[in-house]
């Protein structure tokens, strides 16, 4: 087990490649290649990608990595470590040379801090910074302090020398539950604090282990940031909605919906749209890669997607309603309730106005040139005498 624990010295890990590390740990070449094939499939690279991945892992030096934890529940680390594929955990713990991470570090106190400082000084401009958790900025950052320093301080210092940043999970990408209204600690996503560094958003609460591994392998293989969508998420994993890869989709298109969780339709496996499924507005790989080594995913277990890879998904609730509450109008006020009230007011207003018109414009109605109701058809070309109205 001791190889799982990052050593207090960063020097011993300098020269080996990922492949050397793996074979020295007893991984066969066959298993190694299988892993490369699987990873490139996850990344959507196709068959030529396998060789690229294999070559990169065989020849490239491991990347030094610093992994910081702020306001979070560690579900991202958990997800990663529990990946069914043993090499995934290996990648994290050995191959990428994880030099500092509070959760798994054997060292503590000053020893731990010195590892961090050694790494960021020695590998300035080279190391990869992984962040799990959001940064609370309220009250000068007192809501999250490590070793007597606020998260804001730490992230500023460590990010300054990083080559790139990976924001793990919804917390680091968009603040997750601690940023939900009213966000008492001003939990802030990393991209709002650090500017001028490439940031990869690996969204989800937590992200799928294979997606996390895929992003790391991509960085190892190609030495550059994967293609990102408008929200900074790698396109390889977040370009399609859960809805577009959902096996219940034919039921959606056929208009066959579950109406309540215990009905006949639920048993038949109909679409969960009317139960509040957020699949149509959520970008993630749950429908293809699935969870726990492809065993299942929430919708397959009969529960709608809650949109965990989208920003402010906690505030887009209630989770079991199709139409969310409208921001600023209180709980369970949907766009439809607002619309109905304003619409009804409009109808009442128009009716009132019609009555008013008949009172106020009693004389004017029909008193047009040539059509005076009182005088019969008039031949006068100008305005009739009644026409000017009485007011100024």
């Amino acid at each position: 087990m001791d190889t799982l624990i990052p050593s207090t010295s960063v020097d011993s890990r300098d020269s080996t490649t990922v492949y050397e590390q793996l074979t020295s740990r007893g991984v066969s070449r066959r298993d190694f290649l299988k892993f490369c094939g699987w990873m490139s499939a996850c990344m959507g690279l196709g068959s030529e990608g396998v060789a690229q991945v294999a070559q990169a892992l065989e020849t490239k030096k491991r990347i030094p990595v610093v992994w910081l934890h702020f306001q979070e529940c560690t579900c991202c680390s958990e997800s990663f470590l529990r990946s069914s594929h043993p090499i995934v955990a290996d990648i994290l713990l050995d191959k990428i040379s994880l030099d500092y991470t509070e959760t798994l570090l054997a060292a503590s106190g000053h020893q731990a801090e010195s590892v961090l400082h050694q790494t960021i000084t020695k590998y300035k401009g080279e190391y990869l910074l992984c962040v799990e958790g959001s940064v609370p900025t309220a009250a000068e950052g007192v809501y999250c302090c490590i070793g007597g320093r606020s998260a804001t301080d730490i992230i500023q210092e460590v990010a300054a020398g990083a080559k790139a940043i990976i924001a793990w999970g919804n917390c680091a990408c968009s603040g997750c539950v601690q940023a939900a209204k009213p966000n008492p600690t001003s939990a802030t996503p990393i991209s709002k604090i650090i500017t001028g560094k490439p940031i990869v958003h690996v969204q989800g609460c937590p992200p799928i282990a294979e997606v996390m591994a895929g992003v790391l392998v991509h960085l190892l293989t190609f030495d550059r940031i994967p293609q990102l969508d408008a929200l900074g998420r790698p396109k390889a994993f977040y370009s399609r909605r859960v809805h577009d890869t959902c096996y219940r989709r034919p039921n959606y298109d056929a208009g066959l919906f579950v109406e309540s969780f215990d009905d006949e339709n639920a048993r038949k496996g109909y679409c969960l749209y009317k139960m509040g499924c957020r699949g149509p507005t959520t970008y993630n790989s749950c429908g293809t890669i699935r969870w726990n080594g492809g065993v299942s995913f929430p919708i397959q277990s009969g529960h709608g997607c809650i949109g965990c890879s989208e920003s402010s998904f906690w505030d887009n609730g209630p989770f079991y309603e199709r139409l969310g509450s409208f921001p600023g109008f209180g709980i369970e006020t949907t766009a439809d309730k607002i619309g109905l009230v304003v619409g009804a007011a409009t109808v009442v207003g128009a009716a009132g106005h019609a009555v008013l018109t008949n009172v106020r414009k009693h004389h004017e109605i029909g008193e047009q040139p040539g059509e005076s109701a009182a005088n019969g058809p008039s031949t006068s070309a100008g305005g009739s005498s009644n026409q000017g109205g009485t007011e100024s």
Binding site: D336, V342, E391
Partner: protein, 257 residues
Amino acid sequence: MNTHAPSAASSAYQRIYVWELPVRFYHWLNALCILVLTATGFLIANPPAINTASEASFSYWFGLNRFIHFAAAYVFVFNFAFRIYWGFVGNKYANWKNFLPLRWAQAKEVASVLRVDILQSSNKPLVAAGHNALAYLTYFVMFLVFVFQVASGFAMYANMSNAWFPQLFTWMLPIFGGDAGLRQWHHLATWFFIIFTIIHVYLVFYHDYVEGHGVLSSMAGGWKFLPKKQPAGEGKSLFSGAPVTTKPAGASPRSPS
């Protein structure tokens, strides 16, 4: 009451050809699109429970409904684009300059319309050959909502399509907090269309009833019937009602329709 076009000699009215055929065509196609988009949109938002014993693969009504929504959206967009073009080449009532009360006369007219028609604190008759200045301004606001509805709709549609056009709007997504947030706003904006329609239809009836200038039928035939000499007062300063190409009633060429 004489409901036929009076003879030129006896009439106090003149016929004015206000809405050209392309404008009328735009209007009704637009109305149809909005009707279809609202109906299919609400079905998307809240599909009824239709239960059949058949397999999902034999039925596609919900997919078809969405298809109609998206197809109507394209028609809506091109029709709208055409109307903008017509704002530059059409007659003066259709001109884009009417839609913004940038001139003093237009701003004053907005105020008079508010006084005479909405608050009814004054009864001075107003005569507008085109729309009145307040109506033009309202349509301008409506056009902004069109743009929003198109942009939000196509931003959501972008990931279902390989066409380039929807991709132009993906920048909307981060601003509105992703698809979920945008969908909310798209849904809320639908109510704007409904409320607009209520007020719009009411005011057309109102003007037709109070003024008797044939506003209601003008969007069908293109003609309005206005007093030959405009009465003194607020009606005079109208920007859009200012010297118009009038034709004596009865002696006019028909519209190309």
